[in-house]
Point group: C2
């Protein structure tokens, strides 16, 4: 028998066991004690079970196990079961989920994951560095090419579209893919470094699969996807498609509507961690604990753990984002280790000497940290890093 186990945060001081029993029955067989023995025997394997209740007033947790026989092995059915009607039932937050291995294996997980992406890029011994295009709305393909070239030559491993850049007449999706491939091929020929470009896969749901397949044929090296504007199952379908054989980067857009409240919704570690990994995200962006748009460090730790801890699936890359500049690299490496992607927008394009220098400064900071050299010492030799630290500082 397979199960999904879900843990909920609820107000403390209630009759927890009664509440838990109500959930376990209400979301499975409906009722129990008043059923005839024959019906109980028939329904036993469908019945939800209360696994634990813990009152730590003012908050308490309830853990319930739902038999997988009640749903089809897809995320919409599971979400509807464990947090469908229940999401509407007063103060309650879904704070953990667990699939047993047999059930988990029915989901793809990352098709590349950390090892696959390292293989693609040819980097195995340091955190990767990623940059984001700056202000592309209203700009054309020349600007696109200039920015991509500068970022790639500066030394980043990945470049991503901004999540608000959709298919548009100035920089059409397919043109971005084709020109992106051309530029990155040239950079590889000249520098030996393979850089991936994650183009924003957008548009109508039922067109996404064909659009992604076409992009891959045209030379796309990665996809950016606003999962939560669509649905986790759509991500899964893209991840499972054998023709869409490039890494998929999940953007957290809209996810704050589900995760931000302490009392309602779904925990970041569940939504951006466990569910995105199960559904097949290869890289997961989330707010870093440092910037202006920040998450508490316990939450970013929990996301990173959910993406990388041993499970039946490959590990996905944590990509702590927002407010990142070279002075934060020691913090990023300390907090997220080598299995992470250092991602910057303003911290690259805002560099006094331009985007390429901004990218170089990040690579210099990473090298310094891995060499156990302080940023100050490294900056004595590295002009780009020195300029970055002069501008943004170097918090201890």
């Amino acid at each position: 028998m397979s199960f999904v186990t879900a843990t909920y945060l609820v107000p403390g001081g209630l009759d927890l066991h009664k509440k838990a029993e109500g959930i376990a029955l209400g979301l499975t067989v409906g009722s129990w004690t008043d059923l005839p023995a024959l019906e109980q025997a028939q329904l036993k394997k469908h019945k939800g079970e209360v696994i634990a209740t813990n009152d730590g007033t003012p908050k308490a947790t309830i853990t319930i196990r739902y038999p997988a026989v009640n749903f089809t092995p897809d995320i919409p059915a599971i979400l509807t079961t464990i947090f469908g009607k229940l999401s509407l039932d007063g103060e309650i937050k879904l704070v953990d989920i667990a699939f047993d291995d047999a059930l988990a294996k029915q989901f793809p997980g990352p098709q590349f994951g950390v090892d696959g992406i390292r293989e693609l890029i040819g980097v195995h011994d340091r955190p990767l560095v990623m940059s984001i295009f700056k202000g592309m709305i209203g700009k054309g393909l020349d600007e696109f090419e200039t920015q991509l070239d500068a970022q790639a030559r500066g030394g980043v491993d990945l470049v991503k579209d901004d999540e608000i850049l959709f298919d548009n007449p100035l920089t059409p999706f397919e043109e971005r893919v084709k020109r992106g491939k051309h530029i990155l091929d040239k950079v590889e020929q000249e520098t030996g470094r393979r850089v991936l470009y994650a183009v924003n896969l957008s548009g109508r749901t039922f067109e996404l699969r064909d659009k992604a397949r076409k992009a891959v044929k045209l030379g796309a090296s990665a996809l950016l996807f606003n999962v939560f504007a669509y649905g986790l199952d759509t991500l899964q379908a893209l991840a499972e498609d054998p023709e869409i054989n490039v890494p998929i980067m999940a953007h957290p857009a809209v996810s704050g509507a589900l995760t931000a409240s302490p009392d309602y919704g779904i925990a970041n570690s569940v939504l951006l961690g466990k569910l995105l990994r199960i559904a097949g995200a290869d890289l997961v962006l989330f707010p870093s604990p440092y910037g202006s748009v920040a998450l508490p460090k316990e939450e970013t730790d929990a996301i990173a753990l959910a993406l990388t801890e041993p499970t039946v699936h490959r590990a996905a890359y944590p990509v702590p984002s927002a407010g990142i500049h070279p002075g934060l690299v020691p913090h990023l490496v300390r907090d997220f280790g080598e299995i992470s992607v250092i991602n910057a927008g303003g911290g690259i394009h805002g560099h006094p000497d331009g985007s390429a220098a901004g990218a170089t400064a990040f690579r210099q900071a990473v090298d310094a940290v891995l060499d156990d050299t302080s940023l100050e010492d490294a900056a004595l030799q590295k002009a780009e890093l020195a300029a970055a630290i002069k501008l943004w500082g170097h918090p201890l």
Copy 2:
């Protein structure tokens, strides 16, 4: 020029205009005052505009207008623009949206809506009555047929699956459709009343369209859909499909994760009201203001208004649900009027004389209210209604 206008609830007492400018620029052209005049001219039509700020400390609102030229006319692109990154930006709730008519017309809205469903059922002068199957998990097709027959004969206009009943070996999706049609055809022949059965459309996203088309071919008369376990755009694709020519009933499962917090997420009137209607839901279930799983009446009023106020789209049926019994019918009619569906599960199956009597009691209550007869007076003549009121009471 077309626009989406979005209003956000944020903490009061900030420098609101600065915050609003930051949002309007950050989610469109990125920056403005430091741009050369030539670039400003080029980017002008892409720039977000602050329409209003209102400080009513402790809370304040910000209204921003986003040019539609920045996104493709689909809900994922719009959500990503107006509440993508922004959903992660501290305490903020999306409390209103508006599409101008030109933009709104690029969305289907309900394909049947209130008038179309009245036409299908042949009822034009009273609220409709709907019932839900009881505890079908673990049960077989005999139980399905028995329950459907009792509910339909009792006098309801619509019957819906429970949202947690997925495709399963005991009551397979296609069998439910075929047997449902057979039973409802018989009821129509014998009583002259047309009853719709909304089968739960579930499974993998990319299979839904074919599954729904097949269901319609097999005689499905309506579809239940857990929109928020998938995505609004998937609902839209189902609504737009000419072969899926039956009403679609949107279930609010999982929506509480987005709507329940007063400070974060998306308002019910936006998510269950405006967006479901634009995307094409014909009927929208939401928690009634009366039951144990209840919404504040201001919120249910706002949902019902968003579903029915004059727009470029057909009106969708508000379906206030949960905790409904015949004694509440006067309240439902007072609060939601004739353009609503009265929806009950326990209030039908829990009737002392069974589900058919439970359905009949609801119809008797509706007739009494429309005749301006009190339920007490009506109950003198109507045994089923009398038994229901005896059991559940009749709150004033």
